[in-house]
């Protein structure tokens, strides 16, 4: 994985000092809250419902055991012994003191980590495929391109006061595991007919109150022009994105209002101009970064055999391990979704354990998934039983990847000052319901996503089943949505009808699941059945 050189380290260290200085001026009253707010947000520090919250960047979701241990130490030393992994592959802490923030950033910098641009109207942490470098279906490892863009976007002098936040995802396979087309810019690294690598740019996707699927604006940008193209896309947005209404300020609204064709024309014009401005790093820089993402030394001749005599272990292997490009290896998913638990939360002890297991069984590497789970990307099949045994003992062995129990949920009204309703209790009750009724296994892949407000941090638009919490005259109310997908078959979910109370939404999810079990044909997932039969049978069952 990538390692800082003296330049990267100097930049992160300078940022720590900058934020210490800004915090000091705030505490001395020399900065007002209005002036300080964008500065602290660009260092990931929010003022949330109960306290300050710090969001730490995990670039493209990749970290090593040393870094995971540090995340655990921060949870213990500065927070309340736990952290929350987010839908953009980051981690956030809920109980941070402003006066500690500088020390936390310094601790992070000591392990090549930071909270730079994890909030604010700037280019956010760049996300990627959590199976990058391991997946059998990738064209190349997408992370070097994400790293190149990370450096370009860090402390960008022109794009730090954008109309609104800006999220970029980079993938390199036709299977989309990063919700690429629901980002402000989604990049897919592709190979053309001449066997050259290039970047397909999708611009103007997003969730939030106006969900949009990003159109492709350029199917092949040569790799030695990718940064310049991104710069052009951002400049058009910075100049022309709406600033009169924060709810219309994302780039998706600009692309929608101009039309993809006109937006593209403007980007191409800016791109042609910027090609003469020396924006692009030399190809040698991309090569340098690629060098950090070489495959680990996979062993040859490993057995693909597995002792499946323990049925609990066999179920976990079937559910939570993914085919790997190297024979004898798999990627193993550590579920942070125990039945009745808080999706994405991990205690400091669990983080320490995951770090140790990564060191022992996965070439010292971990990944954070946008579905709020953790991946050990390179595990020998021969080590799986020992790994599973250790995970089980720590409450991390839930065999539920991509099932109805593997719920994405935003922090909701329990933690978030923007939320209108609680998300976590709904997730807890649904996972308990399906664990009790035994339908989880029969339902197969069913992606359920819950947001506690219209901002859609819980990706409800992209759920096979989505739930949106709203405030109905001071009472929590939940709308049900069906038919969304964040994957390569991307689609936006539709609302079924009137909302439900908390008990009602759990029943409604089971009702929708039962319609699928009744109507499905061979091999269909919930989403496939919904797409075939449409909304009507579900509505009849829910409201009939």
């Amino acid at each position: 994985m990538y390692r800082y050189d003296q330049y990267d380290q100097a930049m992160v260290d300078a940022r720590v000092e900058e934020f210490r200085d800004q915090t000091r001026r705030r505490l001395e009253g020399r900065l007002t809250e209005d002036q300080f707010k964008p500065l602290r947000l660009m260092n990931g520090l929010y003022l949330q419902l109960h306290a300050y919250m710090l969001r730490v960047a995990i670039p493209y979701g990749t970290l090593d055991s040393r870094q995971m241990h540090m995340l655990a130490d921060i949870a213990d030393k500065y927070d309340r012994g736990y952290g929350h992994f987010t839908t953009r592959q980051n981690i956030q802490y809920n109980w941070i003191k402003l006066e500690d923030a500088g020390d936390i950033l310094a601790d992070l910098a000591s392990v090549e980590m930071h909270a730079i641009q994890t909030s604010g109207n700037c280019i956010r942490n760049i996300s990627s495929d959590h199976f990058a470098g391991a997946a059998a279906d990738e064209v190349v490892d997408p992370r070097p391109y994400a790293e190149l863009l990370r450096q370009w976007s860090s402390f960008h002098p022109e794009f730090s006061y954008l109309p609104r936040k800006f999220k970029i995802a980079v993938i390199a396979s036709d299977t989309d595991r990063a919700a690429m087309r629901l980002h402000d810019i989604g990049i897919q690294i592709v190979r053309n007919e001449a066997d050259e690598l290039g970047a397909a740019f999708y611009v103007g996707g997003g969730m939030g109150r106006t969900p949009m699927i990003a159109p492709c604006i350029n199917a092949f940008v040569p790799l030695d022009r990718m940064v310049t193209y991104a710069e052009a896309a951002l400049r058009v947005y910075n100049r022309h994105g709406r600033r009169d209404n924060k709810y219309k300020a994302r780039i998706k609204i600009l692309v929608h209002e101009l039309g993809a064709e006109e937006y593209t024309r403007q980007v191409e014009e800016e791109f042609a101009h910027l090609l003469g401005q020396g924006v692009e790093p030399p190809f040698a820089e991309l090569e340098r970064i690629r060098g950090y993402f070489e495959d680990p030394l996979f062993e040859d001749g490993l057995s693909a055999e597995l002792d499946r005599s323990d049925p609990d272990f066999a179920l976990w292997v079937d559910r939570n391990t993914i085919a790997h490009k190297a024979p004898g290896y798999v990627s193993a998913v550590i579920s942070l979704k125990p039945v009745g638990g808080i999706p994405g939360d991990a205690t400091a002890e669990q983080m320490h354990l995951m770090a140790d297991l990564a060191r022992d069984y996965s070439f010292d590497e971990l990944r954070v998934m946008h579905t709020q789970n953790i991946v050990l990307p390179h595990v020998r099949k021969a080590d799986l039983h020992a790994l599973w045994t250790a995970l089980e003992a720590a409450g991390l062995g839930s065999p539920n990847l991509d099932t109805i129990e593997d719920i994405i949920a935003c922090p909701g009204l329990d933690y978030c000052s923007l939320a209108n309703a609680r998300s976590i209790p709904v997730a807890q009750k649904i996972s308990e319901r399906f664990a009790a009724n035994g339908k989880t296994e029969a339902l197969g892949q069913l992606k359920l996503k819950i947001s506690g407000c219209i901002n859609a941090c819980g990706h409800h638009h992209a759920g096979h089943i989505g739930i949106l919490g709203v405030d109905k005259k001071g009472v929590e109310n939940y709308q049900l949505l069906l038919g969304g997908s964040e994957a390569e078959d991307v689609s936006l979910a539709k609302i079924t009808g009137p909302g439900f109370d908390e008990a009602g939404i759990v029943d409604a999810v089971e009702t929708a699941a039962d319609v699928y079990l009744r109507e499905r044909q061979d091999g269909e997932r919930f989403l496939d059945t919904y797409r075939r039969i449409g909304m009507t049978p579900f509505k009849e069952a829910l409201y009939g």
Binding site: L27, L49, H50, V475
Partner: protein, 98 residues
């Protein structure tokens, strides 16, 4: 009644105006109807509170209880982690919030 609330600038903790100081406990809060803007301005300028604002509340068993669920969650702590709330040992606190 109206309560004045904000966060402690240094720690971020949720605080409530008691008439002469800030408390972590909403039951210490006093009615500020008509004076909320003036107190908020003065206290924020002195950096004894960050981002203060007033909310609606009513008396519940003689103690102030915020009218909106968001303010009650904010006053207590996350409902999904009773151990981290201000009243970890109170079995009835759930019904106070919801």
């Amino acid at each position: 009644m109206r309560l004045l609330t904000g966060n402690d600038l240094r720690t971020g903790a949720v605080t409530w105006w008691t008439g002469n100081d800030w408390s972590l406990h909403v039951e210490d809060a006093v009615d500020v109807t008509g004076t909320e803007d003036e107190i908020a301005r003065r206290e924020e300028a002195a950096r004894r509170v960050n981002a203060p604002y007033a909310i609606d509340a009513s008396l519940h068993q003689g103690r102030p209880r915020p009218s909106h669920i968001k303010d009650r969650v904010r006053a207590l702590g996350p409902t999904v982690r009773p151990d981290l709330t201000l009243k970890p040992a109170d079995p009835d606190i759930g019904s106070w919030v919801i």
